[in-house]
Amino acid sequence: MTPVFRHGRLRLYLLRLLDEEPRHGYEVIRLLRDRFMGVYAPSPGTIYPRLARLEEEGLVTHDEENGRKVYRITEAGREELRSRGDEIDELEEELSASVSDIVREVREDVRDTVRSLREELTRAAREMRGAERDAREQAREQTRAARESAREAADAARDRARQAREQAREQARQAREEAFAHAHRLREEASRLRDTSKDQWGGWGNWGEWSRWSEWAGRSSRSGWPGQHDLGALRDFERLARDFVTDLRSVAWDSGTILGTDVIPTLRDILADTLDRIREEVFEIHHDEPDEDSAPPPPSDAPAPAEPPAGAQPPAAAEPPADTAPPADTAPPADTEPPGAAEPPVK
């Protein structure tokens, strides 16, 4: 707070207080404090010397009352006050201004405190939000990473699934081809049989294919194709052929090398050789008969270059052990050899 009394003003104010009525020094001090709402409390050390000074100047005098000094203004003092009336008014104004200073101070004080508090809390809240945002950011980052790896895993899984599907489709295709080939062969067989039966029994040509087939299949004693003694043998034959295809494929797959177009001719040669061997070694005896018809050999060649070699093995292992036991023994090695031979070029 600014000094309440400018130079010489306190002296004037003391005179004014004593002009109202005679007062103890203590009372003067209390009145001053009142005036300033306790904000300005002059000490006795300030007031008594001043009163003594005023007395020296003859502006105030004092009486002893119960051992205490009671100060009263003198005529000279009143004269002094009158001559400085303007200053007195000014002083009054200043004094009330100093009360409103208190008010202003209170208000500014509170306002400052409140403002700084608001700023502080806003900052704290913002920092908290910031920290929260960081945490969120981090969590988001983690989620992103997790999602990334999950996606990779999913991609890999999808790749695997696709491969499996392709493999399955490939197998299905193979199976279908086998089935076609099989059907074809059956048809060939049927027509050949029909021809023969026409030769032998004539009227059988009118029979439905199936009845003819079963009829034919039933004639196991006939020196026909070894594999076709009965349906079970036929199934074995087919399965062997399929197994071979599967084996062949897995050999190619396991080799890990890219299956280039250049290996295909080699393979085809090997398989063709194998087929020839099978034809000669396994089906030799019976070949003569079908050959008469000239129909079976080309089809058995044409539909599946890869199959007959495989198919050659099953008949050997399957039903006709009696008929074709020796060739069956020779067939497998012949059979397994070609793929084995096919492997190196693949690798």
Binding site: G38, S96, T113, R118, M128
Partner: protein, 271 residues
């Protein structure tokens, strides 16, 4: 009963004031606690004269036909302006009604009731039952201690320091900022429409907390509280300490932040 019609700057003193009522339109009214003789100083005055009456210790400062109850309906623009400074004993209860005038109350210990329109209200070191009601005026309080009620339309409330037994705040769009401690089993209840609420309680507070905002964000620094986010409500609730006190904040669209201040035991962090 003594009556004055004040039409010029004046200073008055009274023997005893046990209750104070002031109604002002524009200007400033300041009430300070003082151990000395109660006084009233009118330092500025424009427009109609002020009526001052003193009867049975009840000091009333008002204009003609401006009562406490009809205060907020008194909306006609006025040119009546006064700057009034009053000192009363600290234990004197006061009632202030101001339209656009601002009010300052300092050091009183028997509570204060202040109603305002657009004027700012400043409270410093006031204890007891304190109620402040305003339309658009801001209310700022330092070191308020006791039962505090605040109500406003758009006016905000800021409490810096102090300790509350109950703090009840109702505002539409006013911003509420409070850094206070709670009495034992004290309660804070704040409700706003869009006003943002920022509270800071000492870390060693003891209260059951429930902060809710329909569309605003709700955050807290107290780790013991639980956050529940639902589509149309964001809630933070739980206990701080043993939960003997009560803190509840409800808002429609305002954000709510509950900060953790220094424990009461080790004050002096702020200010």
């Amino acid at each position: 009963m003594t009556h004055w019609t004040v039409d010029a700057p004046t200073a008055l003193e009274f023997d005893e004031v046990t209750e104070l009522n002031v109604r002002l339109i524009d200007g400033t009214v300041a009430v300070l606690a003082s151990a000395d003789r109660p006084s009233l100083a009118v330092s500025e005055l424009y427009g109609r004269p002020l009526h001052v009456s003193h009867a049975d210790g009840i000091l009333t400062v008002s204009y003609e036909s401006l009562s406490w109850d009809g205060l907020l309906g008194f909306l006609k623009p006025r040119k009546d302006k006064a700057v009034v400074t009053i000192t009363v004993p600290a234990d004197c209860p006061i009632q202030l009604g101001v339209l656009s005038a601002s009010a300052v109350v300092a050091g009183l210990h028997a509570g204060a009731a202040v109603k305002g329109m657009s004027g700012d209200i400043t409270l410093d070191g006031v204890t007891g039952d304190v109620s402040a009601e305003t339309m658009s005026g801001e209310v700022a309080g330092c070191d308020i201690d006791g039962e505090i009620r605040f109500k406003s339309m758009s006016g905000g409330l800021t409490l810096a320091g102090g300790s509350v037994g109950t703090l009840t705040v109702d505002t539409l769009s006013g911003q509420v900022t409070a850094d206070v401690s709670l009495h034992e089993s004290g309660s804070v209840r704040v409700s706003t429409m869009s006003g943002e609420v920022t509270l800071r309680l000492p870390a060693d507070s003891d209260a059951q907390v429930s902060l809710r905002s329909t569309s605003g964000a709700v955050r807290t620094e107290f780790e013991t509280l639980r956050t529940v986010k639902a589509p149309a409500s964001h809630t933070v609730s739980g206990n701080v300490g043993a939960g003997s006190g009560h803190v509840s904040v409800t808002t429609m669209s305002g954000a709510v932040t509950l900060l953790r201040g220094a424990p009461v035991g080790m004050e002096s962090k702020t200010q």
